[in-house]
Each structure stands twice: as C-alpha cells, then as structure tokens.
C-alpha cells in the first residue's frame, strides 16, 4: 500500500478547473519534487491534499495509506499524518508560537491516544529545535509568525514539521525567498526529518533546493497534469532549458 496514491484528480477553484487528471504515487521513504510553470496547479495540489476549503474535487481519488482522504477535515488529515508547509504562512497575533505548538502537539497526541507531554519537557524540546534552525527562542514567545521575516516564517514551518513528525510533509515553495544560509538550514531540517518511514513532497520553482535535498523522483506539473517524471537530472535539465520542451 502506497503512502499517497492520487489518481486522475480533477479539482476546481471558484468554478475554474485547475487540476485536470493528476496522478501521483508516493511511497514511504521517498522524496518527490514537483516543478512547473506559474499557474500550473502546484499549490492547488498542496492545498487540496491538506483539505483547504474552496478546493473542490470533481473527480478522481486521493488515498493516504489506503484511506480515502477526501471526506476528512483538515485537522483529521493532520491526525492521519499529513502536513503542509505553507507558501505564505499567516500571522496569528496574540497567540504565542509556543502556545500554538503545544496545542497542535496535544491535539495530535490526543488523537493518537497519547497523553500530552509535560509543558516543561515540551518547551525544552521546542527550544532545542528552534536553535537548530537558527530561530531565536524568543520567537516562541511572540505571536505566531507575527513580525517574522519571510525566511523566519519558512523556518518556523520546518520547526512545526520537525515537532509534529508527520508521515507526509508537503512543502509548498518553502525555498522561495530564502538566502543561501537559510536555504541550507531549511534543507538540513528536511533531511533531519526524512527517514524510511515518511516521505517528502517538495513543490519548488528552483533546482537549488534539490542540491541539498536529493529527490528520488522529479515531476513536471503543467496545465493541471504531470507531463514528465524522472530522477534529479530532470530538475537540472529544467533549470538549463526551461519548461518549453515539456509543454510543447
């Protein structure tokens, strides 16, 4: 049984068909990268996997460890092991990062039938994770993403991924807007997270992240469908030649 099995997926947003028969299989232990021109449907795929309202599946199937994901609410998908690192993580003023992380951790542990971790132990582990991502632990006291730079927000997403330990992490352009040092830090976080029991789906415009996080498969998504798949050399070719040869 595959970790994620998407078959012939059609999705509309505001009545407009965006995904037009997308098929994708991801096994545990794999890293996949999806590249593609603007407007091809990459973020739509990420959002529909996470269950964002407003993304309507008109046909096709999405199975996660053999279970139909589509009727599940976003929090239930997270409990099942799905994680989306947002392209534009939002601010939630007044809710401290630490309070948010503890609520998320407690919710997921409760759903798994586990007791909540003690506040002291939890805070200590989160601080350690933050330091490993070059995030000042003081950020944990501030509102969620409040006043964070773009790079800090992306690292905060990686912090959440490391803390929640999902089965599938979908990273929606997590590398965009990062300088070289921050990119390496994020890549280190992804590599630390990844193991034989989970999987990563990287959505990116650039090949440079794939220098640090090596994909098992690279896919080209254009006009709502995956038109080409290959190994990491496909990303290098796209970087050199663009998408015209795929979409022609």
């Amino acid at each position: 049984m595959s970790l994620l099995q998407v078959d012939d997926l059609h999705v509309t947003v505001d009545g407009k068909l965006i995904l037009k028969g997308l098929t994708l299989t991801i096994e545990a232990g794999e890293v996949h990268a999806i590249m593609g021109p603007n407007g091809s449907g990459k973020s739509t795929l990420a959002n529909v996997l996470a269950g964002r309202p407003g993304f309507e599946i008109t046909s096709g199937t999405v199975n996660f460890e053999g279970v139909d994901l589509t009727p599940l609410e976003p929090h239930q998908r997270a409990h099942a092991g799905m994680f989306l690192a947002f392209q534009y993580p939002i601010e939630i003023p007044g809710v401290s990062n630490m309070e948010f992380l503890k609520a998320a951790n407690d919710s997921q542990r409760a759903a798994a039938g586990l007791e909540a971790r003690s506040a002291v132990e939890f805070m200590k582990s989160v601080r350690t994770l933050a330091e490993s991502l070059d995030l000042n632990p003081d950020f944990l006291k501030r509102g969620v993403n409040e006043g964070f730079s773009g790079g800090e927000r992306k690292r905060n997403e990686i912090l959440q991924m490391l803390m929640l330990e999902p089965k599938l992490a979908v990273l929606d352009e997590t590398d965009s807007g990062l300088d070289i040092d921050a990119l390496q830090t994020v890549a280190n976080g992804i590599n630390r997270y990844h193991n034989s029991g989970n999987a990563v789906l990287l959505i990116t415009h650039y090949q440079r992240l794939l220098n640090y996080v090596v994909p098992d498969q690279v896919h080209v998504l254009a006009d709502g469908r995956i038109l080409e798949s290959g190994d990491r050399r496909l990303a290098e070719k796209l970087e050199a030649e663009g998408y015209a040869w795929v979409t022609a």
Binding site: G51, E73, H75, A78, I92, G94, V95, A103, A104
Partner: protein, 375 residues
C-alpha cells in the same frame, strides 16, 4: 423618555453645595435633548434612568487603607475654597447634554470624595466600587507623581460611578479597570484631564451585563500630554455593552492611542463609539483609534462608529473599525496542524483579546476574560 423623566419625581430636589445650583433645572432639559437621543442610540436612556433613580446611594463605601502620600476629603467636609475647586473640576469642559445622567447620580449621591495624590506611590491606589450609586470621586495626581490605579468592582444590581481624574504636569497615571459581573445594570462616566507632558494609560476590560454603559472622556489639555487607551469587551448571550470614548486634543503636540477589541457571543449587543476631537490650535496632534470586533453568532449585534472632528491642519490622525468573523485562513492553518475547529476558534479568540491585554493585572485579567470567553 416620558417614563424616565417621570421617574425624576422620586429624585431629591436638594442640590448639594458642591454642585452647580442649576443642576436640577438642566436635568430634564438634557434628558430630552437631541444630544441624549444621539448618544444613547444603542442603550436605553429611559431604562438606565429608571434603574438609577430607583437605587439608593451606596452605603458600604469605604476607601479602605490608602497608600502613604494620599489624602482624602469628603465633599461635605470641604471648606468654601475647596468646594469651589470641586465645582470647577466637575464642570470643567463638561458637556452635560452628552452625559445627562451625571447630574442624576450627583443628586442621588449627595456627597463625594476628593482623593489627592501628593507624590509617587509605592503601591497601587485601589478603588473597590460597591453596589448602588457611588459617591462621585475626584482624583488629583500631583505634578511629577507616578501612580498606578486599580479600579475594580464585584457589585451586582444597579451601580453608577463618576470618576474625575486630573493629572498634573509631568505626572503619569496607569489605570487598570475591569468589570466582570454580568448580573447588573451599570453606568459609568470616567473623565480624565491632563496637564503639560502628563501621561495616562487606561487598561479597561469589561464584559456585557443586563445593561452596561461606559462613557470615557479624555481631555489632553496640556502641551505634550499623551493618552493610551487599551481594552477588551466580551458580551455573552443576553448581555449588553455600550462603550463610548471621546478624546479631546486641546494642547499642542498631544498624542492619543485608542485600541479596543470586542467579541460578541450569542444574542448580545456590543457597541463602541470612538470620537477624536482635535481643537483649533492643537497643532502637532498625533491620534490613532482602532476598534476591531468579532461576531461569533448570527444573532450577535455589533455597532461601531469611529468619528473624527478636526479643526487644525498640522495633525496626524488615523482611525479604523472592523466587524468580522473568525479568519478562515487562520482556522485552516490551525486545522492543518491537527487543532480541532472548536479549539482553533478558541485560540483565535484568545489571540484577538490578548492583543489588547497589557499593563497591571494582565495575567489575572487574561484568565478572567478566558473564563467569560468559555462561558
């Protein structure tokens, strides 16, 4: 207003020495005037008046143990010079037509307290307001003094308070106030006058009640005076909250910040009216007023109206008011981390009010507000 004015027949016609002789005469005029209709659009003036005149003055008033450096005096024990000061303080820039119940409260109370803070205080000055019609209070903060004031009340039933604060030159007052009892009808007028470079911070946290109306008027008279008003309001099912802030910029280079977040739950009514009035000659004014409201239920009623009145060109002035529901993007973000919808909504509400919780008693207040949020 007919029934309410009839209720005035039960009011004593004795005008105390510390009040204008024409107080009694102007009550009826003001209660029926256009100002009353405009300023009491969302609360029943007649019902409030009826409640007040049917209530005795507070009998258990006790200012308690006061910090060193504080002197108190009953209005009834004031000498003629002090009586004149009291009369002037109460009438200073007072718009009786906007606050027609002030005379009613004064006439019921018949006496009041002058509290003089002579120097900086090591401990907070605490006013624990009892049930009933409280005696009007004048608080004078001496020039240069740094003072913290805690105004609390656990009163049930009808309660009315008039607090008049005068902050001397270069003095600073941090004022924390809260009203967390819903089982009451409450009206209050808070007036604060600031001298040169004086500073005032108000941290006000309240919940709705059977009827709760809070009027607040800030007079930035002195050059360089500053006022920061921060607060939250929560109305639960069946409750009413009406808050009105008026900030008068009169001196030069004065600054005001006014930030209020309200949450309306169930079938409740939550009103805010914020007015910034920049007088001619108040050059260099910097004023900002922001009111945000969350309606958590279809039958929750929110009224908000920011108003600007500007008579000087050299000013910076901004205002904004929003009424909305919980942010769907934020709910999705929290949900994507495994947080159930009910907890996600609670977290967003907590965040919304936490943005406006600061200053003395912040931790206690947060806990108390959360209790009302969950009730």
């Amino acid at each position: 207003m007919g029934d309410g004015v009839t209720a005035l027949d039960r009011l004593s016609s004795d005008v105390p020495d510390w009040l204008d002789r024409d107080a009694w005469a102007r009550i009826k005029l003001n209660l029926e005037g256009p100002g009353a209709r405009e300023h009491w659009k969302h609360s029943s003036l007649a019902k409030t008046l009826e409640a007040l005149v049917g209530t005795e003055r507070s009998v258990d008033e006790d200012l308690g143990e006061l910090p060193n450096g504080v002197e108190t005096l009953r209005f009834s024990e004031a000498d003629s010079a002090t009586l004149e000061v009291i009369r002037q303080r109460l009438a200073h820039r007072m718009d009786w037509s906007r606050y027609p119940l002030a005379d009613v409260v004064n006439l019921i109370a018949q006496d009041g307290w002058m509290i003089r803070v002579r120097r900086s205080l090591d401990t907070p000055l605490i006013i624990d307001a009892p049930s009933g019609i409280n005696s009007p209070v004048i608080i004078e903060i001496a020039p240069g003094a740094q003072v913290e004031l805690h105004e609390v009340s656990h009163a049930t039933g009808v309660q009315a308070r008039l607090i008049n604060i005068v902050i001397g030159r270069d003095a600073k007052l941090v004022h924390a106030r809260h009203d967390f009892v819903s089982d009451c009808e409450h009206w209050q007028l808070l007036r604060v006058t600031l001298d040169d470079n004086a500073s005032y911070q108000l941290h006000s946290h309240v919940v709705g009640a059977r009827l709760r109306r809070i009027d607040c008027q800030i007079l930035l008279e002195g050059n360089g005076a500053t006022a920061e008003l921060t607060g939250t309001g929560i109305t639960n099912d069946g409750t009413h909250l009406d808050q009105r802030h008026v900030v008068e910029h009169i001196g030069r280079a004065t600054t005001s910040r006014n930030k209020l977040h309200n949450i309306a739950k169930g079938k409740s009514r939550c009103t805010f009216n914020g007015r910034i009035h920049i007088h001619a000659g108040a050059s260099g004014t910097d004023a900002d007023l922001q009111n945000k409201n969350l309606a958590l239920h279809e039958s929750s009623e929110i009224n908000t109206k920011p108003e600007l009145e500007i008579y000087d060109d050299d000013v910076k002035c901004a205002h904004g008011a929003t009424v909305g529901q919980l942010d769907e993007h934020a709910l999705f973000y929290l949900g994507s981390r495994g947080i159930e919808p009910s907890l996600a909504k609670r977290l967003l509400c907590i965040g919304f009010i936490t943005e406006c919780i600061d200053g003395p008693l912040a931790d206690e207040l947060r806990g108390e507000l959360l209790r009302h949020l969950d009730s």
